[in-house]
Symmetry: C3
Subunit: 321 residues, 3 copies
């Protein structure tokens, strides 16, 4: 895929473009099981990027095998919760990135959240509109990121992370309505979520509510970067998040989407005690389908997690090749 | 592409080979605009290579959209000046690399020269043999290299580089003759160039003259690495460059090319004052087309920017796959 | 290719998966020479990975040209010894990695062993069942890893490594039997090997014996990492290695393989003098071909080079796409 356009960062216009390619590989066994794998080119940095995820280490991209018994995936897979509910819609030609991706729900496990345990596994099974999901990490990670036992990864004194992370979720689809429930746990931390979406005529509505227990975020806490990038005070607790989006599609290829998401934190016991600890993010986006895989898109968003609380915007064209 | 062969580095023979692959992706909108993107596999190092260019960050590879109104590209694009004039011919199987790429004209903007501003944009328009080019950077770069606003790139105190870089150029083609003029500016620095080429029977002749103002080169100066690699004294000024190449193609697939390029610097005010500050590079190359994308090629070059002033040579075979 | 499954590391179960892709490119000249190149996506880290191998630098992947006169390859090629004899069979779905790859014979040259000299070259020629191999490095490497002479790689005070590394080998194939002899040298170090394999009904038997002279291994010695990863005492000498494998293939796609390999070191003169200095590794593996490129495989191995001397196992599925 590719994209090019401009971002208003609150003070200046910034040009932004990118080009990427993805490998998708599939096969079928003699008995009819299908299998495959996929990763982007930029995810295959075997040795070059020891601190980040790599498809060659199982911490980016994924492989799967599926049959009548369901589908088993391993690698940088979604948690069961995210597989059941997804994120809110991405606005703008940079898919929300220009405003810090506020539409991404801060799932407790999976999709990179607990990548320091190496690959995660996700199992999915569907029957009669009922969708079941289960995901887990192996609850143990040696002091290396390669294949355990390989040269450079054979000698270990202690686990880097020994808290099993897992998630279970169920969804039910009836006509144009979907509803999903999920429970996730990682050591002491836990997450309960409910979500749903509905397609009514040209409208598409989506909402979710997530409750967290013992979820500590903030820069000095190892193991959760979702909020850490925003320089929250160490020790801040993440209590809950909820959001809603409404999309409307016109007949001529034009789409409009508005969304709003709130994150509730707790600064008690930190030096920020008393500061506002609810953070809203909201925005509106428009897109126009040019055909052939090209889409003109733009959005305006405000993400209160930004220190200067500024409004940001993007406008550009994105391509699917 | 690929290549294998040997390089004489002035003292020893060095074996050198490489293999690379490039992605080229295109599409077309319903209204007939064409779009696309391209990058080499080695240019897609998203996180692994924060200090260098990446197609995923818009600082390597490029994307474009084009129609009857012209062509707009964004990413690691050429400056308008380079798009209009190009470089002198590449000699040898390593395409001039064995001798420090003296054939590459040191354009002031674009093609990586001001990459710390993120992607650049290039616009091209052609009618009746007249070619118009304009390129620019956005004149602002936050203290991060990813998508502005994304996680890890949302908080910025000051611009890394706030000098707009731009270039305008025009070319005219009449029969086998081409002539081009260009003007580029980056902060205080400026570049005026004139160039042309002609194909007369089996001969191909190319020449250029470039005049720089306030262009400071040397290792301690941030923002221009073209000369910096050659350990020029800090504060050295780059005044002018000019060069000429003559190629001759025989009927049997053999080609011969000779070229010469001079770079005029000014060491006044530095401790090197009085040292020779004109640097010539010259060489001769031969190639033989083996068909099917394989070419046998070799060259001998001398680049006075090398401290030991030695003559270097390469000989090998290069492949197009 | 891809794989997913679990590894028992002696204390815990570790999930492991990966996905990779490889580029293979070929062409043919007008006179009928064939040429090509290949590398994996993860091997193409041009700038990102200055300390490791890259296909763009000629130290991973390879390019070749071949005709009736034989085949010449350059890049990260095998040594002549390894090209003639190969390694013992890889057990398990991680191809021996879960146990430190004990099946890989510690060849003195090639295949990454002397990569700090840049690309190596390998020449192969076959006639009437006789196979001849010769490989060498260029015996000189400047203090940079790119193309010699290129920007950032033009100035050098001294060689990083000036010991020529080379290897010669011969093999003879008669019916289902193969036998091979090899001699390799790298500076003062040398290697003499004999090996062979035979396919008798459903059995496949392979064995080798290698004798080393002046081969010093251990962490503080630059230039040989094969043993260094296992924290041998500096100054330890590697005297000999020998091994044997027996494989048996059943008609239904099930394969069984057992193998054993011994490495003889000498700790005299080090503080470990008197400690056991023979290291065995042995194991048994099973595989079941699911068809379409998918294989279920598992193995149990013990590698005495591991400090805790623990038994390790893996079990999973591997894919060829």
């Amino acid at each position: 895929d590719g994209r090019m356009g401009m971002i208003w960062d609150g003070e200046d216009i910034q040009m932004h473009s990118r080009a990427r390619a993805k490998f998708t590989m599939t096969g079928e066994t003699d008995s009819g099981l299908s299998f495959g794998g996929s990763f982007r080119v930029d995810q295959e940095n075997y040795r070059a990027d020891p601190l980040h995820r790599s498809a060659a280490k199982g911490t980016a991209g994924s492989v799967f095998i599926s049959g009548t018994y369901g589908k088993l995936s391993m690698g940088d897979v979604l948690s069961a919760a995210e597989a059941a509910m997804g994120d809110l819609p991405e606005l703008g030609y940079t898919a929300g990135e220009f405003a810090g991706d506020p539409e991404e729900i801060d799932y407790l496990t999976g999709d990179g959240a607990n990548e320091n345990q190496g690959p995660s596994a996700l199992y999915e099974y569907t029957f009669n509109g009922v969708k079941l999901f289960a995901s887990l990490s192996d609850g143990s990670q040696r002091a290396c990121d390669g294949t355990v036992g390989a040269l450079g990864c054979y000698d270990f004194e202690s686990d880097k992370d020994s808290d099993l992370a897992y998630s279970v979720a169920a969804g039910y689809e009836f006509g144009a309505y979907n509803i999903a429930l999920a429970y996730s746990k990682w050591g002491d931390q836990s997450e309960i979520m409910i979500g749903g979406n509905a397609a009514i005529d040209a409208f598409k509505i989506q909402g979710f509510y997530a409750k967290y227990d013992n979820r500590v975020v903030g820069n000095e806490i190892v193991g959760d970067d979702d909020f850490g990038d925003f320089d929250l005070p160490p020790g801040a607790e993440y209590n809950a998040a909820y959001g809603l989006s409404v999309g409307y599609t016109l007949a001529n290829g034009v789409g409009l989407t508005a969304e709003w998401i709130t994150r509730e934190l707790d600064f008690n016991g930190s030096k920020w005690e008393g500061a506002p600890d609810n953070f809203d993010a909201y925005g509106i986006g428009a897109s126009y389908d040019l055909g052939g895989g090209a889409t003109l898109a733009g959005a305006v968003m405000k993400n209160e997690l930004y220190g200067d609380n500024e409004t940001r915007a993007d406008m550009g064209v994105k391509f699917k090749f």
